[in-house]
């Protein structure tokens, strides 16, 4: 017993031509064009974020970011100092006021970035909320549930409970999260995913889940509600983006410590400058000291940390994945082993006919025609692939309907459905019977009728099986009406093979470069598994796997220090999903699986795991890169401010004014303005994430050190110089 997709009854396999709602993005294209990229500065979102920036000035909120809180306190000190200067009618008042204004802007810019990130998530949530306001559901009444003629009643959406059945037709909004139990429909999910192309959802199979707030745009479906009020996807998403559930992730906490430590050191540096400078006889004004402090503490990363975290969550949502916590997203970046189900992830998930091998002495055309007839009524992907391949090989004939019509007149036509008893399917037409099935099943049938399987066919069967394929044997019998004239004949073997998705080997190679091993899980026997594993280029495989095996494997990997991610959908998978460091449940899967996992993929696409890993990595890289950038910026700020502070007493220090800044005042001001503006300039980067490529750690480090480390040292020299040149044009500042 197993939940592996391979072991499922063939009939429940999803139809292969359900269009995927979005092309699976290649790892190499992440944050690129595969998913619709939203602009960082959407007009409405910006307008909404501006008042938020002020509301967030509340010290109780600011306290969570020690860096920005320090800036806020510094701004207050600066305001007081300005007031004192006004009373004393100091000539520096204008300069001090301008500095103070920019300090305030620094805080506001930080709040703005956070508000903007929240706004992007909230915008989606709000439109959904609005969509649900006063929404009525068409609930099916009473015991007649699921029957086509059941009576409908109209109830407010928030009253829906788990297990209720509702009807949705074109134009209706799906009232709550659920699963389609009847029908097929096109659904517009743009309200959640921002993706405007509609997707197909249908009962049965992996794409039966619908989300509350999405819109049905064609056909009619019956949906069984799977979430109680307050527990729907959108409810949880709102909670996540609104920060109610935003807890610090482990890496965020570690970074937080570093930022606090840097703030303390720079606070000490600035404060002791007062006695130091006093000894030299040149104490800078409090405003200038605050300016120095604000420039030194890591405001850039301190301001952007919340936005980076929220945007990471947001990116995940754009990929139609719901994470239960930010921690899970971050862990995804650390994954070292991926356990991937073969079916649907590595292969297309259904075996396809790839060859016809006629029995000795049987003409190929006769065998192909018989194989086609035997499969004509078989609606499984395997059956259809046989018909398709026969067509490609020139065997065209009447369709099932035509056959039925012509045979119906003669009264001798019957479809033989696949049954667990016979393990064969086929067609009776006139006096002839056509059967196809596993070799052993067909052999039994043939023997019962007095025939046997020729040795040539047996050889074919064995060789197909040892190559990892599935042999299907086709046989026929002429004597339906006259039992004594039975002439059972084995016509040949159809080679069914699991087809490995094109390009999958490249993706695994990319993962290997990133240091991630892939392990294929399959219910197939070892031979089959080994053949597919080789073709797909996975690092390891687990054949004849039961859910218990999965769990054992996860434990073993973890014991060896690996961090494991896996996908699953069945109740049997729940323990393994819970044990894995990152467990992604398919939305189409069972409730038990979803509860055990720490992520749910709304598209039920097992390949998504690879993207989730990339999103996790991108989150960390963005944080690390901006931290490096922020700290590296300090070098230039020192060269701007320190000579400005003391050049009056030690004229020789003008040697340190390597940027040749116009005057001490414009130097300090330029540094402060640069420090504030850089936050806004980096908001799009924080929201979008630093570009991530699947390269080795060494290559990634070299690149990011060059861009954000060296760049972080050089950029402010240029920026401050430009601002200084502009300030030189402003009269009255010097």
């Amino acid at each position: 017993m197993t939940t592996s997709h391979d072991a499922r009854p063939l009939a429940t396999n999803p139809s292969p031509d359900v269009p995927s709602h979005a092309p699976a993005p290649r790892v190499t294209e992440l944050s690129g064009h595969a998913y619709k990229r939203r602009k960082a500065f959407n007009r409405e979102l910006v307008l909404a974020a501006i008042p938020q920036s002020f509301i967030k000035l509340d010290p109780r909120q600011m306290r969570h970011s020690p860096v920005m809180f320090t800036v806020l306190v510094g701004t207050v000190v600066s305001v007081v100092a300005c007031a004192a200067q006004i009373i004393q009618a100091s000539p520096d008042v204008v300069f001090s006021l301008v500095i103070t204004l920019w300090l305030l802007l620094t805080v506001l810019f930080a709040n703005f970035s956070e508000a903007l990130a929240e706004g992007r998530g909230k915008a989606q949530a709000d439109s959904l909320r609005a969509g649900r306001q006063g929404l009525l559901a068409r609930r099916l009444k009473g015991a007649a549930r699921g029957e086509g003629n059941a009576a409908e009643e109209s109830v407010p959406a928030p009253e829906l409970r788990k297990g209720d059945l509702v009807v949705c037709e074109a134009g209706d909004v799906v009232p709550s999260d659920g699963e389609i139990v009847e029908g097929l429909a096109m659904i517009d999910e743009s309200a959640i995913t921002g993706e405007s192309a509609p997707v197909v959802r249908e009962s049965g199979g992996d794409r039966s889940a619908v989300t509350g707030g999405t819109k049905v745009i064609s056909d009619r479906v019956v949906v069984r509600i799977t979430a109680d009020p307050g527990q729907t996807f959108i409810d949880r998403m709102i909670a996540l983006v609104e920060g109610a559930e935003r807890q610090m992730t482990p890496n965020e906490a570690a970074l937080h410590v570093l930022l606090v430590a840097l703030t303390i050191v720079f606070l000490a540096v600035t404060v002791v400058l007062v006695p130091f400078a006093n000894l030299a006889g040149a104490v800078p004004s409090p405003v200038v000291l605050v300016a120095l402090l604000v420039c030194l503490i890591p405001t850039t990363i301190g301001a952007l940390v919340p936005a980076i975290g929220i945007a990471g969550m947001d990116r995940l949502v754009q990929h139609n994945v719901l994470a239960t916590s930010g921690r899970a997203v971050e862990t995804a970046g650390d994954i070292t082993t991926l356990l991937l189900d073969k079916t649907g992830t590595i292969t297309f998930g259904n075996r396809r006919a790839v060859d016809f091998l006629p029995a000795p002495g049987v003409p190929e055309a006769e065998f192909i025609a018989a194989a086609r007839l035997a499969s004509l009524a078989d609606e499984t992907p395997e059956g259809r692939s046989i018909v398709d391949l026969a067509g490609e090989r020139g065997a065209t004939g009447p369709s099932l309907d035509e056959l039925a019509r012509s045979a119906g007149q003669q009264g001798a036509f019957a479809v033989v459905e696949f049954s667990a008893m016979t393990r064969m399917s086929g067609l009776d037409e006139g006096k002839r019977r056509y059967r196809k099935g596993a070799a052993s099943a067909v052999a039994r049938w043939v023997r019962e009728l007095g025939g046997d399987i020729p040795p040539g066919v047996r050889d074919d069967v064995d060789s197909i099986a040892s190559d990892g394929g599935t042999p299907l044997v086709v046989a026929t019998d002429d004597g339906v009406d006259q039992p004594e004239r039975h002439r059972p004949r084995v016509l040949g073997t159809v080679h069914l093979a699991d087809v490995v998705k094109p390009g999958i080997a490249d993706r695994f190679a990319a993962l290997r470069r990133m240091g991630i091993r892939t392990v294929m899980i399959t219910g197939d026997n070892r031979l089959t598994a080994a053949a597919i594993a080789k073709e797909a280029g996975v690092d390891d495989y687990l054949a004849e796997a039961t859910p218990e095996d999965k769990l054992t494997r996860i434990r073993a990997e973890q014991k060896a220090g690996q961090l494991v991610a896996m996908t699953g959908d069945g109740t049997n998978d729940a323990p393994a999903l819970a044990a894995a460091d990152v467990g992604v449940a398919m939305n189409s899967g069972t409730q038990a699986a979803k509860e055990a996992a720490n992520m749910v993929d709304l598209d039920s696409d097992p390949t998504k795991l690879i993207d989730v890993v990339a999103i996790g990595k991108q989150l960390l890289i963005t944080r690390g890169s901006l931290t490096t950038f922020s700290v590296a910026n300090d070098v230039a700020k020192y060269f701007a401010i320190i000579p400005a502070l003391f050049v009056a007493v030690f004229p020789g220090l003008s040697l340190l004014n390597v940027m040749g800044l116009t005057s001490p005042k414009s130097a300090v001001l330029a540094a402060v303005i640069f420090n504030a503006i850089i936050i806004v300039l980096l908001v799009p980067l924080a929201l979008r994430g630093v570009r991530y490529r699947p390269v080795t750690a060494q290559q990634a480090l070299r690149r990011n050190l060059l861009v954000y480390g060296v760049g972080g040292i050089v950029a402010p020299f240029i920026g401050i110089k430009i601002i200084d040149l502009l300030l030189a044009l402003v009269p009255g500042l010097h």
């Binding site: 570690a254 030194l296 220090g561 690996q562 690390g624 700290v631 080795t696």
Partner: protein, 546 residues
Amino acid sequence: MQFSFLSFITQIGILVVALGAVHRPLGAYLAKVADDGAHLRFERWIYKAAGVGPDSEQTWKGYARSMVAFSVAGVILLYAAERLQPLLSGGRMASVDPWVAMNTAISFITNTNWQAYVPESTLGFVVQMAFLAVQNFVSAAVGIAIAFALVRGFVRKGSDSLGNFWVDVTRITFRVLLPLAAVVAALLIVTGVVQDFSPSTVHNAITGVSQTIPGGPVASQEAIKELGTNGGGYFNANSSHPFENPNAFSNIFEVFLLLAIPFSLPYTFGQMVGSRKQGYTILTVMAALWLIAEGIMASTIAAWPNLGEGLEQRFGPAASGIFATATTLTSTGAVDSMHDSLPPLAGGMAMFDMMLGEIAPGGVGSGLYGMLVLAVLAVFLGGLMVGRTPEYLGKKIQARHMTLAALYLLVTPVLVLVLTGAAVLIPSVVADAPSQGPHQFSELLYAFTSGANNNGSAFAGISASDPLISSLMNVAMWLGRVLPMVLVLALAGSFAAQKPIPPSPGTLATYGPLFAGLLGTVTVLFTALNYFPALALGPIAEGTFR
């Protein structure tokens, strides 16, 4: 006096070759001492006498408690010995002033060897040999022991212990430092360093005047003074005294000695963690920083128009620069010239060397653990930039580790800055620094940089015996030694408890030129950001004075 580049290059070349030859055998031997499961017979006697179970392991807290207890006991013992000197010397030497005694006790226990007294006239043979010299050995051993404990933290998997403090200190003292010091002392005597118990009478052939100069067991003290990166000289003039450092050969030999163990420990580290390239990466960063610092020091000296008195007259300014750099980059503080007399920017360079945290190569043990903590910071930044939770040697760096590492890196700069800030606010302390202008500030900044980093050298001229400045120095030395050590042990304990993650291509490689470059840059940048304003008001203001 002329600066000779030829002399500079030659001396650096000799040092590089000598250190290159010695780091491997010495480093491998140290690793063997750290990991040896067997005890020598006399060690067993010591453990028995001290009531230590040599095979019992300590948690990080136990290790830290032992270290603190040992240090406190050392301070009390040394203080008592100085105060009771009349008793110990049979009345020949006077009791040491209480302020000076306490300052000296803390100074020697913390491996600082800041000397607020004139040793040859204040302390007799007994206190020098039986107490100060013993501390020279054991304070060095404590430093190395803490480094061992940190490395074990990286090596051990899911363990709650870091080794045994008493065993480590005993072994390092008796198996490493004592034998080495004995050999070195013999070699020093060969070079002409004095070893006797009576004053010498020296006739000056030019002036025809004879003078009596106190002698003493100088060579034996000198050996551990350099080997253990202690720096406390037998004479006030330290290694510029001809009895301590008689000639050009003894001079370069002493520089070699103070660099020898610190430059060997990265090899020990590589050996213990089972990856020599990890050790060589640390060594490369240390060596590169040392050579760059030597180069800058040499250029600042060469560029100064009037090299004055106070620089080493016998061996030339190049030798002064080399010694000054080596002594400030290690936590030695021995001097063969007066740093006060260095050109301003060279003096600033000496300060910057100490401000680096003395990690290139640093004090015995403290250099290695200091560099490894910086490596944790570099790995954290680098690790995030490659998209993984940062890990060093398979150990994840999380909030707790970051807290400990950040506190470690914060302690010394905050001590230096805050204590200097406090000092300049106290008029009597400011008056202790006799110069004016930026140089006066430099003298105070230098003193606290030296104290908090446990270096021990000074800009001569500052009067360090004043009770107030003495107390501030005591705070700097004690906290600058004990706090970082406790934090390192906590970090080690936290790492030891973790199970390691096997490396993969997705792991940040903590070896090779790229990481070495990152580590070196992080080190210099972090130091520069902490001290730039202070340096600007001191040596830079003085050096750019127009």
